[in-house]
């Protein structure tokens, strides 16, 4: 029999029914190899989506981004933020009444020897300046195993109808 291939397991999902400032996935099992967070946030205003791990609010996060805005000046850019108190899951992109997409891959989240990295894809097709398409790499400078992932906006709250899903990727067996 062929070896079992890796599969996604839904750890938890949340479809908001009320306005919510932070969506938290806690007590994440350490039994998977990687995590995948899919978020379709809604908000009243154009806000950045931000992440924190294990409730860490220290300045231990950094990102590098490549962004296209479709219009305006510049039309695209790349840059970095360092020593942030959170990890951006977009940059100069927005959430509004059209659901946009965040696909976040968090690699080797349960190891206790290396800092944690995430690959992020952000898609928001709303017109400039509220929209954009982006790819980001994020770093959390901690060797702790990730057991909690919190998703927030840079200000305001997520609106009802926002959807968040956390998957674990099982190792091949």
């Amino acid at each position: 029999m062929a070896a079992k291939t890796g599969t996604y397991t839904l750890i938890s999902s949340s479809t908001l029914t009320t306005t919510t400032a932070t969506v938290t996935f806690s007590s994440i099992p350490s039994t998977y190899t990687d995590l995948v967070l899919v978020a379709n946030p809604l908000s009243t205003n154009n806000r950045d989506v931000i992440l924190r791990f294990n409730s860490d609010t220290g300045t231990n996060y950094s990102i590098t981004f490549l962004s296209g805005y479709g219009g305006g000046t510049p039309a695209f850019s790349s840059g970095r933020t360092t020593s942030q108190g959170f990890m951006y899951a977009d940059y100069y992109a927005a959430s509004n009444t059209t659901q946009n997409i965040r696909q976040i891959n968090i690699m080797d989240y349960a190891n206790t020897t290396t800092y944690k990295t995430a690959l992020i894809r952000s898609s928001n097709a709303n017109a400039y300046p509220s929209g954009g398409v982006e790819t980001l790499v994020g770093l959390w400078r901690s060797t702790a195993a990730i057991n909690t992932v919190a998703v927030s906006l840079s200000a305001d709250s997520f609106l009802s109808g926002s959807v968040f899903k956390l998957y674990g990727i099982e190792a091949a067996k």
């Binding site: 805005y69 479709g70 695209f76 059209t98 928001n124 097709a125 954009g132």
Partner: protein, 169 residues
């Protein structure tokens, strides 16, 4: 609950076709994923691939970030568009036997919000210019997606092109 990609349908082109359509898409999944390996027959290094939903030709928008091997660019089609751009596939002057690759993710395709799509696309070839693209797409329509249609900007998809639609649970 184990998450799987369930193959809803696939299509392998046996002779050139101008359009590929997935219809009667089941409504029981949470999201859709569409994988494309395609090449066009138009006389160019690449051809754009476009997507429409439910046979509609209104209310589409997209923003793209693209590299062509020497420069990057970003552009948009804001509102009122007739289709969503989904990157480039190779075409007839590209290196023989090379096909573009596209992956489109469509979350909450049965929901009552407007529909968003994220596409990653590459069209590699052994030449100076070819394209890789990231695209954010939007269909400002609250209807559940029941069909997806793909077309090249001109010409047809050649034999050997494949299109596979998965449902995500």
């Amino acid at each position: 609950m184990a998450l799987q990609l369930f193959k809803i349908a696939d299509s392998t082109v046996e002779s050139p076709v101008a359009t590929v359509t997935f219809s009667s898409i089941p409504q029981g999944y949470t999201d859709l994923k569409l994988f494309i390996s395609a090449r066009g027959d138009a006389g160019a290094i690449s051809r754009s691939v476009y997507v429409t939903f439910n046979g509609s030709s209104t209310s589409y928008a997209d923003i793209y970030l693209q590299g062509d091997g020497s420069a990057a660019s970003s552009g948009s089609n804001s509102g009122g568009g007739t289709k969503i751009y989904a990157g480039e596939c190779t075409a007839s002057t590209a290196t023989s036997n090379t096909f573009g690759n596209q992956e489109m993710y469509i979350p909450n395709y049965t929901g009552s919000n407007n529909k968003s799509a994220a596409t990653d696309a590459v069209a590699e070839t052994n030449a100076t210019t070819q394209y890789m693209s990231l695209v954010a797409g939007l269909w400002s329509n609250t209807a559940a997606i029941t069909s997806i249609t793909l077309v090249p900007s001109t010409g047809s998809f050649v034999a050997g092109s494949t299109f596979t639609l998965y449902g995500v649970l």
